[in-house]
Amino acid sequence: MSEPVDLPAMITKRFKEPLEFLGGVALLAKDTVKELRTRPFYGSLLIDQIYLVGVKSLPLVLITALSTGMVMALQYGLGLEKFGGKPYVPRLVASTILREMGPVFTSLMLAARVGAGMASEIGSMVVTQQIDAIRALGTSPIKKIVIPRVLACLIVLPLLVSIANLVGNFGGLMVGSSELNLDAQFYFRRVLETSNLKDYIAGFGKTFFFAIFIAMPSCYFGLTVKNGTKEVGIATTKAVVTASLLILTGDFFLSKLFWVIEKWL
């Protein structure tokens, strides 16, 4: 005879990890906000992180943005050509990049590159007792480790997305003029005429949320590494997967939110 199913135990087991994650990140966020308001402030660590997160990610972001803009212009152009809709390509490419592709693709690239780096670095610091040493020396790992990384993402991601938006549109313009036979000046003028501040803000506003989606899970998974170096790899994978999922699923709700805000304005 089969054993009776222990439903509460099964449910607990299934939801334990996600609930622990939500609770852990909420507590980490609370401590981060609390400690942001107290001294000391490690300015040099913030500058280091801005360099690591921003400057070091720039080539990856530029390549991603350029190829995204080029592919989108090509696909829209080929698809709309049949209906005589090629002149709409600049508007469509610009709007899609500003609202969605720029922020989402840049954030996903950053989640992969920076999120993995943060989780593995912090996890290694846990394994080698460096986090314990920070505490034992009467200082705070939140201040020294978490705050510089969160602030760096909040400062750098909007800037990277702004650059990605420009480069993506430039990629569209290149393909528009070379492959779709659209005049470069016409393309450029159409982008300026048809794009508006709302397009830009709808995408730009999301970047602050995406920055949190990258930095907080990465720090959380790094700090909760327990049993040696094997877990560092697991934490790194979890950080990247979680950040990517939060960006992709969060994007829908944030798009909806900004849509509502636009209607009010």
Binding site: P40, T128, Q129, Q130, D132, A133, R135, A136, L137, G138, T139, S140
Partner: protein, 243 residues
């Protein structure tokens, strides 16, 4: 009066009971050797003394103050007073030796950079490590990392030092160096607890011992007191056999 007092300390990790009703004390200027087999939970007690772990029940009194209920903020003054020398040094690998030693000074003092530099140079000279000042931890040997970890731990001139396996994995030269440093700090009146498997070092530096066995302190006392006990573990220890 005891400077460190552990009363009815109990600790479990999940289902696994690590300690049951552990009690001991250390007077000012004394060095206690906390010994026992691997996995006996020696480091758990040491970590709890500085608030890195919380006991399930019991008291940990530092200078008569129970630190168990303290949060991270309340523990800061205790951590300035109690230094922890980590097993592997636990140096910040993104910082040079100088930066590692400057870290607690910058965090807890208002000293100008020139005074910090002077203090660091003096400290490294005392530990015989002046030449490593601009090196990164990754460029140093394990023994040097441990000595620099110890130098960083004591740069704030703490009242108490907790040594977690300070000589583990070291060659005889570095073991001797660490032993000398511990004795030098002891001569300055620093109170200490030493967790170790290295019996010669423990014999050389400790005034008394506490033996952890089967989750409790099986015996404690000075070497002369312990010689009278019949326990085979203690006799092995006195004879210098590895625990």
């Amino acid at each position: 009066m005891a400077l460190i007092e552990v009363v009815n300390f109990e600790k479990s990790f999940g289902e696994k009971v690590i300690h049951r009703d552990v009690s001991f004390y250390v007077k000012k200027g004394e060095c206690l050797g906390l010994v026992g087999g691997s996995g006996a939970g020696k480091s758990v007690i040491l970590r709890s003394l500085i608030g890195l772990e919380k006991p399930d029940s019991g008291q940990i009194l530092i200078n008569g103050v129970d630190i168990v209920p303290f949060n991270e903020q309340q523990l800061v003054p205790i951590r300035k007073q109690v230094a922890y020398a980590f097993q592997g040094g636990a140096l910040f690998d993104s910082m040079t030796v100088y930066e590692n030693l400057a870290y607690p000074l910058r965090a807890h003092t208002e000293l100008p950079e020139t005074a910090i530099a002077e203090k660091i140079h003096l400290q490294l000279a005392e530990f015989g490590l002046e030449k490593s000042i601009h090196q990164y931890p990754g460029e140093l040997s394990g023994g040097m990392q441990k000595r620099i970890g110890l130098a960083r731990a004591v740069i704030m001139q703490p009242e108490i030092i907790l040594y977690d396996e300070p000589t583990a994995g070291l060659d005889p030269y570095n073991t001797k160096k660490i032993q000398e440093l511990i004795l030098r700090l002891k001569a300055k009146g620093v109170t200490a607890i030493l967790v170790t498997h290295d019996i010669p070092t423990a014999m050389a530096v400790c005034d008394k011992f506490a033996f952890l066995k089967d989750k409790v302190i099986a015996e404690q006392g000075t070497i002369d007191q312990l010689k009278t006990r019949n326990d085979s573990l203690i006799q092995k220890f006195i004879e210098g056999n590895i625990l």
